[in-house]
Symmetry: C2
Subunit: 195 residues, 2 copies
């Protein structure tokens, strides 16, 4: 049976927060780490436009999330239009008891609007902490926070941790390591500790 | 006068190696860090297809590199079709005395094919080290290597360092810091040292 991952996007998405996940998750297929691995970008239109003006084609509608083993909610200004859009939210049939739910940065707001963050441990993404608290979440100042089937990540580069979590849960630890090794800087991350 | 950056792409590009740079470089404009900042994706067709099957629209032809202040060469399997394509290479009028030249992973091969790596210090991207030596380069096992106007980076996540270098050279150190801070994981990179 196929493992199906839906990456949710929308207009005004943050480029890296979609494309980095797309790249990392597809490496599972490119490297032959799973026999039947299907990553789809889901939206409400045939194409969506990023906050910087880049167009991305979708592979299906958001209603498809109910057939996914895992749903990854990307981030960006566009999430603010979704959280008050009842007709949009009613199409998102997410099941936190049988699906992995992964939210990148402000993608967490969509989980909150769906009522899925009540008493959940979540990553404290600074620009939206107030809203996360209003949704009943318990904030943790960590890049990646996992609470059962739900994982939240803060800031663009934490997407590496979030995709890694999905790969480990859906395939195994070896697959996660192979994907991570393929993107790690030659001299590790020491060069990136710039502050 | 506008600061113009050309990001070179082609079919079979590695997704993250294009899109992460695109995102980071565009943050300069999104955050108002430069008045006249123009990032263009340049190719030979109206759209190019990534190695994982994602389509990206180009904003101009590769001949435009000669009007760019900086040229960023992305990476991927597709670079192998370019290095022996004389008509392609002849359209790439790169000037290492007046332009910043930045190569991500196998994008270095294109610089080598243009004869621009002779006696240059470059990052030793493992899958292509043999070719880099054939092009006369001196390999350094570092994530980012800068040699005058030329910088080379190895592996996907080193793109953060390469884009940072461009932003610091073309704007200033403050702009670089603002962009980097916007993508850093909440708990720094310590979580990413997984090996």
């Amino acid at each position: 049976m196929a493992t199906k991952i839906g990456i949710l996007t929308f207009d005004d998405f943050t480029d890296a927060d979609l494309f980095l996940h797309w790249d990392l998750l597809n490496r599972v297929k490119l490297y032959g780490l799973s026999n039947n691995w299907n990553v789809k970008i889901l939206g409400t239109k045939e194409t969506h436009l990023s906050v910087s003006g880049l167009k991305v084609e979708t592979h299906g509608q958001i209603d498809e999330v109910d057939s996914c083993n895992a749903v990854l909610l990307t981030s960006g200004k566009g999430t603010r239009n979704i959280v008050n859009n009842d007709s949009y939210l009613s199409r998102l049939n997410l099941d936190p008891t049988s699906q992995l739910l992964a939210a990148q940065c402000s993608g967490s707001l969509i989980l909150g609007a769906k009522g899925l963050l009540q008493n959940k441990e979540v990553s404290a993404y600074p620009p939206i902490t107030k809203h996360l608290i209003e949704y009943g979440a318990n904030l943790q100042k960590k890049s990646l926070v996992v609470d059962g089937y739900l994982a939240t990540a803060s800031s663009c580069l934490s997407s590496v941790l979030l995709s890694s979590w999905l790969i480990e849960k859906l395939v195994d630890e070896d697959a996660k390591k192979i994907v991570l090794e393929s993107i790690m800087p030659l001299s590790g991350f020491s060069d990136l500790n710039l502050f």
